[in-house]
Homo-oligomer: 333 residues x 2
DNA sequence: GCAGGTCATCGAAGCGCTTCGACGCGAAGG
DNA sequence: CCTTCGCGTCGAAGCGCTTCGATGACCTGC
């Protein structure tokens, strides 16, 4: 069973090859009757255009690269949600997604771009001083970054507005009347890596707390139960009147509740807890966590849209910040 | 800056286009001096073969599809580990990975295969009665499945030997002298979906326990803390002398420890706990869990190897079962 | 010294598609 | 009535690569 080519379709429909091509691409007017005849033949023969030939002739592969930081430390569920929404959205634009890991580095990006395997690049988890950024600036292929490098000049970046997220938590606790609050953040190593989002959350939190005239405190937080327990205990020892806690660390959120339980603090009666995490984690905790969600799906969808716009040659904003949303559940009052 | 083609390289090196091609592919003997001259030109010009043209001429895209079940209910960290190892291994064979979600269904597979976008397919989370299986049998492109459908005839399947994993847990508890043991499995919905691995674990567990003459019990288990707590409580109420617990549910493993703590059972003094889960989860728990790991990386690597072998036209075994490994930590004695 | 065989290289024919310019035809305009 | 135009369609020229058969150059052995 030889694979069906455009020539087979043309013969079957009794038209020229180019006519079939124009029917399929819509780039020239074709009469309704011819169009229908061609489409019928396409269906009858089960024709699928050869991707390589199409790419070669049109200089468009209809594939985008998705570069994920497939290493430890990232939050996996969020990553998957993000990847899913990227794939789904790309398909809506009739594109496929090539999966790459960050450890291929700049060379890998150069390879897929130079070989015309992909038309554009989507990079997740860009760091403040990311070695791939200079390459992206040079590349002919458009790219979109999730996260912000130190100098986003000339790049297209998308991210959750983490500063607003931090601020939103502080606002919420202030509204509830809390006077002493604290934030437990990502593991220390994340700050050291300088990914940026962790710092920006802290900064937004501290700034909003200051604006409300609250006593506030923000520190990194490791992810094992024991370390979370120790951190919470230390915090409560140092600040006995603390009544509001923000957790920006999915892995630790559940452990914080466990630690408070063990330390004899009721949630939310004694301490209100607000998490910055995906909804499913917040909902699964008990009590269910009031949370600011990381809209991974929105980020993915928006990133693909921006990339598609750039592929069309449209101008897009350099920076897109997605608004965080606070959902009030049982853990704060 | 026009992109560099093989003709540019040929001219630069003073040889024919075909010679460059043969140097790069190694499919014909080329003298050492010519080879070196060509390679130098390749480097000097920064040549990268055009993927579309290569695919068109050679009928090999050097891309494989990875179809992930990007929906709820799967264990995400394992999925990521798996994806990472697939990408990394594929790169070792000079292949790239196209990411697809299962919700594109059989049509999606047909599309990427018929358009020659990919040379082969890797499907994860295949179900007992998977609608994609009949298509895979028909497809000219080779495929490898993670998991087993009802009738694996004519397919290539890879999986952890879950029956052995369940048995290994029962063996371990029996060796420690426990007489009454139980297994808490995946959420009920997983059994209903008929993915197979959950049942096989249970069966292996029950069978091994029977062989050792133990009292054993196996039941599904939901993932929220409250439901886990209720399940554990029920189990202990029904079986007060229960002293060994196997948890085959990553999300619930941590909650089981929390529930036992609240119910006044010490681990491992009163109850030994063994988990079937990735190492990182087992290590992070407190006490650290004795566990049978799901070797996601091995599975991914092995799956890619099998697929590459099939692409080369080699015969491969229909079924590959990966041996589970028990790591003893603090939660069992 | 010449037939036969290797080895290294070349040229050209595609692979299946897109796209450009050309062309025929009927309608509109003078 | 003849020109002009636009619409719908066609043919052919690539896109950049692989691969097959051909061609010399050089060696081997009788």
């Amino acid at each position: 069973m030889r694979t069906v080519t455009i020539a087979d379709v043309a013969k079957h429909a009794g038209v020229a090859v180019s006519t079939v091509s124009y029917v399929l691409s819509g780039k020239r007017a074709i009469s309704a009757t011819t169009r229908q005849r061609v489409l019928d033949s396409v269906r009858a023969l089960g024709y699928h255009p050869n991707a390589g030939a199409r790419a070669l002739a049109s200089k468009r592969a209809k594939v985008i690269a998705l570069v994920l930081p497939l290493r430890a430390g990232m939050n996996l569920p969020v990553l998957m949600q993000f990847a899913t929404s990227v794939v789904t959205t790309a398909r809506q634009y009739d594109h496929d997604v090539l999966l790459m890991t960050a450890d291929e580095g700049a060379d890998g990006l150069h390879r897929v771009a130079a070989s015309a395997l992909v038309d554009g690049l989507l990079l997740m988890d860009v760091e403040i001083h990311d070695p791939r950024v200079p390459l992206l600036r040079k590349l002919a292929e458009p790219s979109v970054l999730i996260g912000f490098p130190a100098d986003p000049e000339g790049l297209t970046c998308v991210d959750l507005d983490f500063a607003r997220a931090g601020a939103l938590c502080a606002d919420h606790l202030a509204d509830l009347g809390h006077r002493e609050i604290a934030l437990l953040g990502a593991p220390r190593v994340v700050y050291e890596r300088g990914t940026g989002f962790a710092e920006r959350t802290m900064a937004g939190f501290v700034e909003a707390a200051r604006r409300h005239g609250l006593e506030a405190d923000a520190r990194p937080c490791e992810e094992s139960f024991d370390e979370v327990h120790a951190a919470v205990k230390l915090l409560l020892d140092e600040r006995p009147r603390l009544s509001g806690l923000v957790v920006h660390n999915e892995a630790a959120a559940g452990h914080v509740l466990g630690a408070l339980r063990i330390l004899g603090r009721r949630v939310p009666e004694d301490v209100s807890v607000v998490a910055i995490c995906p909804d499913d984690i917040a909902e699964r905790a008990s009590p269910a966590l009031t949370s600011v969600l990381i809209p991974a799906e929105d980020v993915g969808r928006q990133a693909v849209r921006l990339l598609m716009a750039k592929l069309e040659g449209q101008a897009v904003p350099d920076s897109t910040l997605l608004e965080p949303r606070l959902t009030i559940r049982e853990s704060s009052r």
